[in-house]
């Protein structure tokens, strides 16, 4: 076994990186893969609370890097999924506590035992981002259909290309059908046309995500949730399956235009 290392990043903060990391990791583990997710946001740790594992942290990523514990000791097993593990970030340190080389070393040690290593990147384009993409085989960019998020995503896509980690794939998060229908929100086709990258997920705006985060239970594990389904679809696409995009919504033209874009490769 040699894991694929996938880094989730965005440039802009607050677009849903941590939620996407938690849900993709859970959905992949639910498909039967062995998954470990790493919170690379040193100093602003959050993947643990989103996954509901905050009470079980003893050691963290910086403890591993600085040799205070073995890698295994910092890995927290999920309470619901046997094959899902979390390596939490340190909360009392900063990005400079680890280097890109440290991240590569940690991932190399994990690779033989897992199918997927999912890294939650911090916002920004500095050290934390560089740490997060250093070990990546693939990069997923999360964005929202909103000017500042799209602009930052474009910048990140360029940086990922420059680091030869491309081509990045895109998740468009928090789509609101009603606003798109009204002409007051960029549609997925618009975002793809502007960014010229391949799509891997469309996630609707959904208050149920807030509720599931309150509980520390990823929505991807709720069988009836359409947002959960959207995350499960991304996991399936990552595993190589072809999954059609759900006809979730309005803008009659949206899905027609979208599927045309996808057929032509999105660029």
């Amino acid at each position: 076994m040699s894991a694929r290392v996938i880094t989730i990043t965005s440039g802009k903060g607050g677009v849903g990186k941590t939620t996407a990391t938690a849900n993709l990791s859970a959905a992949l583990a639910d498909l039967g893969y062995k998954v470990v997710c790493i919170d690379a946001d040193i100093g602003l740790r959050n993947l643990d609370v989103v996954l509901g594992l905050e009470n079980r942290i003893v050691y963290d990523l910086v403890d591993v890097v600085e040799g205070r514990c073995k890698l295994r000791q910092a890995m927290i097993r999920d309470k619901r999924l046997e094959e899902l593990y979390l390596i939490p970030a340190a909360q009392t340190r900063d990005k400079n506590a680890i280097s890109p080389k440290d991240m590569q070393r940690v991932c190399d040690e994990l690779r033989p035992d897992f199918d997927f290593i999912i890294i939650d990147s911090p916002a920004g384009i500095e050290r934390g981002f560089k740490n997060a993409i250093a070990p990546a085989d693939e990069v997923i960019i999360v964005t929202n259909p909103e000017v500042s998020a799209v602009r930052d995503a474009d910048r990140i896509i360029g940086l990922v290309e420059a680091e030869q980690k491309g081509p990045a794939k895109l998740i468009v998060n928090r789509l609101n059908d009603e606003l798109i229908e009204r002409g007051d929100m960029l549609a997925v086709a618009d975002v793809l046309e502007l960014l010229a990258v391949d799509l891997i997920g469309i996630i609707p705006e959904d208050q149920a995500v807030l509720v599931s985060t309150n509980r520390g239970a990823p929505i991807a594990l709720e069988p009836k949730s359409r947002t959960g389904q959207a995350f499960r679809d991304v996991a399936k696409r990552l595993s190589g399956q072809e999954v059609a995009y759900a006809e979730t919504n309005g803008t009659g033209g949206l899905f027609g235009r979208l599927s045309k874009l996808i057929r032509t490769g999105g660029s």
Partner: protein, 89 residues
């Protein structure tokens, strides 16, 4: 998709966002500062004028996008040569 504000000629906010982003991204992706385009255009005209006559006012220089790659397009119309009337006749 057509709503009242479209009928009154006011563009919906999504298409405004898209248009603004398109322009912003062209400049974000380019290492060419917006002001540098003017200088580049003038220098191009100067060099080309050494070899062939052009009308500086007609020269267009623009950045365009193809997927994620950028292209600098120059449109340089040459001045029509004023043929001297042959004087054999």
């Amino acid at each position: 998709m057509r709503n009242l504000s479209d009928l009154f000629g006011r563009k919906n906010s999504a298409s405004t966002a898209k248009e603004r982003l398109r322009l912003v991204l062209i400049h974000d992706r380019s290492t060419l500062a917006p002001g540098a385009m003017e200088a580049l255009r003038d220098e191009l005209v100067e060099v080309i004028s050494r070899h062939v006559e052009v009308d500086p006012g007609e020269v267009r220089l623009e950045l365009t996008q193809e997927g994620r790659s950028q292209r600098l397009l120059a449109d340089i119309p040459l001045k029509r040569r004023s043929e001297p009337v042959p004087d054999e006749y």
